[in-house]
Amino acid sequence: MITFESVTKRYPGGTVAVDELSLEIPDGQIMVLVGPSGGGKTTSLRMINRLVDPTSGRILLDGKDVQESNPAILRRGIGYVIQQGGLFPHRTVVDNIATVPLLIGWGKAKARQRARDLMDLVGLDAEMARRYPHQLSGGQQQRVGVARALAADPPVLLMDEPFSAVDPIVRASLQDELLRLQAELHKTVVFVTHDIEEAIKVGDQVAIFRPGGHLVQVDSPQRLLAAPADSYVEDFIGFDRGIRRLSFLAADTLDLDTGVIVSQDSTAAGALAQARKAGTSSLLVVDSERLPHGWVATAGLESTPGDTKLADVPLTAGHGHTFRVDTDSLRAALDATVLSPTGEAVGVDSAGRVVGVTSYDRLRAAIQGADEAGRSASAAGSRPATEGSPAPEGVPTS
């Protein structure tokens, strides 16, 4: 548990970087500090491991004021990852990762073994052990940075814009990797970013800062999207917060339509009858494995001889983007629906087999259902920023 008690950082000259910050960061969670530059998020982070000392107030790490600890000893127990990696250019990957274990006096062999285990954990090829940082890609360097921070198994991990310097695709995979690691390791992570999307994706809790070092709101990502504390937060989150909220609603709550699915072995006449029964003007053709082929319009079938197999009928449209019913969110389902040529999107299972089809109507029903369930579950509503009550349980992070 990390506790900020009325922490203020004022620089000589009068600039206030952090203003009366009170915040509790519960164990085993990812707390994201997000805000524009000048919001005081990085300064707050750096006060935890005493890279910056507060002007007033206290920061407690498991109940102990960090000001009472020797800085070097304190820092060895706190993992630290920065944007540019900060890897030692003169040390190999394995020796970079082994840095802190060596500092705290593990033997060389043990430290290196630990480093190799961590390379495996963060998804780095064992053959990279003897390489130097400049021989790695940006994404690989950040993985080494994370592995190095985890090497001595510190309970707390500080991450200062760790993924800002890599391209969006690599960033997304690093974020996923972090969430996967966190599910395994349960560290107390303080993560600074200026990217609200990233905050919402990786945070169990998100703390929003405003210029001048004011904390505005601390909440779970869902509640932040559902109930921003004020217009500043609302603006910061951006205009499409309604859509983004759908990321937290699972696609398996959708009531999928199976009446429009037709096998390619059916005849045109059979398909027409099925369409009439389902009251639809287009059918989704699947093969014998239930893999989707595409859409066929009933209008075209009427002029086709009744005994023609659907496999021989030209498709009206491809099946478009599919979504995974078991793992994707309503956001993915909505996205697939918007992109679909027929306004209906195909939900598939892990093997790509069709489970059912959704439409705007079915999406709306699922969203309304989730909203009603959400309202009864979180009747407590949004908490003011200065009250550090513990985080709600069961917050999905991906």
């Binding site: 304190l74 820092r75 920065i82 900060g86 890897l87 030692f88 250019p89 003169h90 130097y132 021989q135």
Partner: protein
């Protein structure tokens, strides 16, 4: 040529003396530059005045220094080695400062944040990263020191420079040419040894020609800056 072979033992002796007179001062210059450079990086305000002092000393002609020093050190090796040490210091001091400044800020910060103490950070992180730039400075200092030794011949302590004064007195060109060739050979050998030393000391650079070029450019800049400050 036959003159060189028949005088091989004398030439070997002069070569050894030249190397000794040139390189001990470079080492001494390095030993003084390191703490001076470290302090100047730690406290930035120290750098300009120290740089000015070393620059002024670099500007004093060697011969003038010999004349002054003879009163104190007499006709000993020290009279030649002290000025050469001062010149080496003037080349190496900015190299050490540039080398330490070449440590990327995130690297320094990461070292602090991981719990390195000041001393450990200096020895295990900053000095190793500064090594390429410092060695580039050493190459300049060593080569110029080797050729400057010959000026000492004017007071009788000049290593291979003896061949110039002697050759001139006897109007014997071969001797002078042999002297020039031997000085160049000595400089090339020393330079090669330093390049090899850098390869051994900085294995991470072997795979990255770009970084190496950057390092030598930094050192060259440091020397140019020093020369500009002299004029």
């Amino acid at each position: 040529m036959s003159w060189a072979f028949s005088n091989a033992s004398m030439l070997a002796h002069l070569l050894g003396q030249n190397a000794y007179l040139a390189l001990v001062p470079v080492l001494a210059g390095l030993v003084v530059s390191l703490p001076l450079g470290i302090l100047s990086v730690r406290w930035g305000w120290l750098y300009p005045p120290v740089l000015s002092i070393t620059s002024v000393l670099y500007a004093v002609p060697g011969l003038a220094l010999f004349v002054v020093l003879i009163d104190y050190t007499g006709l000993t090796d020290l009279t030649v080695m002290i000025p050469l040490g001062i010149y080496s210091l003037a080349v190496l001091f900015p190299s050490v400062v540039e080398g330490l400044r070449s440590v990327p800020d995130p690297v320094r910060q990461a070292a602090v944040a991981m719990g390195f103490g000041t001393w450990r950070r200096l020895v295990t992180v900053e000095l190793p990263i500064a090594t390429p730039v410092v060695i580039a400075g050493l190459r300049v200092a060593a080569v110029s020191s080797i050729s400057l030794v010959s000026v000492g011949a004017l007071i009788g302590i000049g290593g291979l420079g003896y061949l110039f004064t002697d050759g001139e007195q006897r109007n014997f060109t071969t001797e002078i040419v042999v002297g020039i060739v031997l000085i160049i050979v000595l400089a090339l050998i020393t330079d090669t040894v330093l390049v090899l030393a850098r390869r051994v000391l900085t294995p991470w650079q072997r795979t990255d020609r770009r970084a190496r070029r950057l390092a030598s450019r930094r050192a060259a800049l440091a020397v140019t800056a020093r020369e500009a400050s002299q004029t």
